[in-house]
Amino acid sequence: MSVPTDANSTVPEPVEGSVAEADPLVTGEARQREPRWKRLPVIWQLRRSTGLQRGMLIAGMVLCAVFLIAAVFAPLIAPYGFNQLSDAGGNFPRQGAPSAQFWWGTTVGGYDVFSRVVWGAQTAVLTVVLAVALSIFLGIALGLVSGYLGGWLDRILVTIADAIYAFPSLLLAIVVSIMISGGESGFISGILAAAISITVVFVPQYFRVVRAETVRLKAEPFVESARVLGASTPRILSRHVLRNATRSLPLIITLNASEAILTLAGLGFLGFGINPTAASEWGYDLNRAISDVAGGIWWTGVFPGAAIVLLVLGITLVGESLNDLSDPRLRIRRRPKRVPRRTATAMKGAA
């Protein structure tokens, strides 16, 4: 496949000073010199966005922030513990409808739905952070080395990564989760098991991206130039390849984080997540809620389900916007509004 050309190319570059080479800083690239924080990922894209894309990005960031707050301050926000079945006023009702005491009702086991949804945010965020951190670390290390060195090691790793990549990720996560914990476990071990299961599934994805970037960069003249200069392999990898190869990672992280949440929920739904008394987990709650539906009891399922949807939506919106904004073919530009000024006299100091 030929690579689609950059739609941007019809916009002329700053004129290369033809007579005396012009100083491009003067001709309009001064905007690149900005404080460092303004050039960080996400913030940089936010500043470049307009209209709809800006709306999507902000909506996504707000959703993510809400869940982060819920996760961090769960003990303060949730009226009850995630495994609390009674308080001073006696046992909680089972499958109680939403009321003043139980805003979102209670489950078949007698838990408060609202509290479990809030505590569930904590589980989800912890697992995802852990899983993404682990898979990035492994994926980058393997991808970098495999892509740069090539050879038989590279071929074997690629074949394995491809095989895993093509396989339903949930199935694999189940198998790994069985291996680690035998299926069920407490809070820390459960989160760890889920995170590792998700990691095994995602390492091939990070590996593929970083490796592809590394292979591309390896042929770039600036890396070849370092080779010609006699730089050692570790120096080339750390100074020239690593930072350039990981530029698209913010995007992949957001996309994989949403997949990690769905995988965690899927594991929980099939009963391979965390023990319900050890932590609150949305997927498990939905599993229990499925049979409630037949009786018209909607609140046990709709709230945890909506929590999953909204969190994934938020993360995906951020990821999609980052993707669009970093791809010149997809980025929306400001439309022309007014007749441009005449450029200043073009032929200054022709000599």
Binding site: E21, P24, G230, S232, R239, P336
Partner: protein
């Protein structure tokens, strides 16, 4: 701007095939809108070739695309482009569609991307015909066969059913021209139609375009940066600079008496065949023992390994040459000739597989990186594309300091500062550029910085792989000037790789001509350029269009005779 005023008097001529009046185009960007075309007025007579020349950013391509209304959404257009009585700028999308192809057609720069890879060429030609609604399927196909034959595609009845990837680069461009011809429009806009082609193929396509004008009476708007192409094909020339037409004249007048200082500068910067500026005798060292060569290739063979069970590709075979200390060897050849492969093999980026390649006393066939690494400080390399040869995350100063740090000339960044300043100064860049990032430099500046980096360790040998082919002609002149100056002062030997015979001729003591991986001719620079022995060198030289319409006409006739003689 007298030339523009002159032309405005003639612009009212009623029979003009294209009449552009006060065209202004700007693009919306993240910052201020960028003005690309600023008050251009031009007209093209029927059956004439108007060349619009200019360097990158001059607005020539945007002007050309506006004739077909093919500008992107973020463009704002004012003024008028009148074609057969219609003002393109004012037309509705539906009317524009009817005009495209019927009244004006386009030939694109990259024929390989202008043809849809999943449809046969016949299908694509027929589609254009049927879009204007006069053909049955059978008629359209017959017409496609006919037009393919006209543009010199052999065996058109069969080839009409072939897909684009089954044609060679030159043939693809013929097919694109056939599409433009098929619809019978009076005007054809050709945007850099030969830039992506080798010089021998370029000569053939230029002949075809001349036939398009002479035999079919079409007017051609030729967009190009190549003065040789202008001299070969154009009747009239408009020179664009930063969105404006600074000069417009008959082709012979323009080359003989350029009026505007920019035109003069541009023409002065074009390297001319055989106009050797630096010819040294170092290589032909007089009596006495000649110094041991820095590079010596004996029956050099370079084969790229094939995939699973396929035989490899032999890029270079049986090549012999030497590079003496202080000598500049120019390697010329067309794409696929193996010239870049040889340059890369000398610095160990590509593995030499057979024969012998001795670099600084080290055998490169089957070499080990570890034993060669110490020698790397004695070899410099300049890459073709200045945009990608710098790590975008390092400042120019850091990039130039890299070789110093790697080879222990300095232990930390602070220790390199003085040397980096000195190096920047030697390539005539302001020393404060060390703090800048590569994208903050223009292409020519980057290429000079690249030269500074390659020379940081005072190498004995420099390999320069097409160092100026990505640059505009006036920028190229400056880079070459800096290069010659440094080469003279420091006396390093150079392997200068280029497809441009004129550039190689300007710099080289010796020239080697590569053709399909073999060195077909090798000798002193002047001798190769003025008295070529091998038929391929003769054809190559004859194919290069020179920036002088009078001389070029003679050369063209000579080439035709040469071809006829070759059969």
């Amino acid at each position: 701007m007298t030339a523009v005023q002159n032309h405005e008097g003639a612009a009212t001529s009623p029979q003009a095939a294209v009449d552009i009046r006060d065209l202004r185009i700007s693009f919306a960007t993240d910052g201020e809108p960028v003005s690309a075309v600023d008050g251009v007025s031009l007209h093209v007579q029927p059956g004439e070739v108007l060349a619009i020349v200019g360097e990158s950013g001059s607005g020539k391509t945007v002007t050309a695309k506006s004739i077909l209304g093919l500008l992107p959404d973020n463009a704002t257009v004012s003024g008028a482009v009148v074609l057969e009585g219609n003002d393109i700028v004012q037309l509705s999308p539906g009317q524009l569609r009817q005009v495209r192809g019927r009244d004006v057609a386009m030939v694109f720069q990259e024929a390989s991307t202008a043809l849809n890879p999943v449809y046969t060429v016949g299908w694509q030609i027929a589609e254009g015909l049927r879009a204007h609604g006069k053909y049955s399927k059978k008629q359209a196909r017959e017409r496609a066969v006919e037009i393919l034959g006209t543009v010199g595609i052999p065996d058109p009845e069969k080839r009409v059913d072939h897909y684009p990837h089954q044609f060679s680069g030159g043939q693809k461009q013929r097919v694109v021209i056939a599409m433009a011809l098929a619809l019978g429009s009076k005007v054809i806009v050709a945007d850099e139609p030969t830039t992506a082609l080798d010089v021998t193929v370029q000569a053939e396509i230029l002949d075809l375009l001349r036939r398009v004008r002479d035999d079919f009476g079409r007017a051609i708007v030729l967009i190009t940066h190549n003065m040789g192409v202008v001299a070969d094909l154009a009747d009239r020339v408009a020179v664009m600079y930063r969105g404006e037409v600074v000069e417009e004249a008959d082709v012979r007048d323009l080359f003989a008496h350029p009026q505007h200082e920019y035109t003069q500068h541009l023409l002065g910067a074009v390297p001319r065949l055989g106009a050797q500026t630096a010819y040294k005798v170092t290589a032909e060292a007089g009596p006495g023992e000649p110094a041991a060569p820095l590079v010596e290739a004996r029956d050099l063979e370079i084969v790229y390994p094939g995939r699973l069970g396929r035989s490899g590709f032999r890029a270079v075979g049986g090549v012999n040459f030497t590079i003496a200390p202080g000598e500049v060897l120019g390697l010329v050849g067309e794409s696929g000739s193996g010239k870049t492969t040889i340059g890369r093999a000398i610095v160990g980026l590509t593995r030499a597989t057979g024969g012998s390649l001795n670099v600084l006393g080290h055998e490169m066939v089957g070499f080990k990186e570890r034993t060669f690494r110490p020698l790397r400080s004695r070899v410099g390399f300049v890459f073709q594309d200045p945009a990608t040869s710098f790590n975008p995350l390092l400042t120019v100063g850091e990039a130039i300091a890299e070789p110093l740090l790697i080879h222990g000339e300095a232990t930390d960044a602070a220790g390199t500062k003085a040397r980096v300043r000195e190096l920047l100064d030697s390539v005539h860049l302001p020393t404060h550029y060390a703090e800048r990032y590569p994208h903050e430099l223009s292409g020519g500046q980057r290429q000079r910085a690249s030269l500074a980096r390659a020379l940081a360790l005072d190498p004995e040998l420099l390999v320069a792989d097409e160092p100026t082919s990505a640059l505009d002609v006036s920028v190229q002149a400056r880079v070459l000037e800096v290069f010659s100056e440094l080469q003279e002062r420091r006396g390093f030997a150079t392997l200068f790789i280029s497809h441009d015979l004129a550039v190689v001729g300007m710099l080289s003591d010796h020239i080697g001509v590569l053709y399909r991986g073999e060195l077909v001719e090798h000798g002193a620079g002047r001798q190769v350029l003025t008295d070529p022995q091998h038929p391929y060198t003769q054809r190559l030289l004859a194919s290069v269009p020179v920036p002088d319409p009078v001389e070029q006409q003679q050369r063209r006739e000579a080439l035709a005779a040469h071809r006829a003689a070759e059969g």
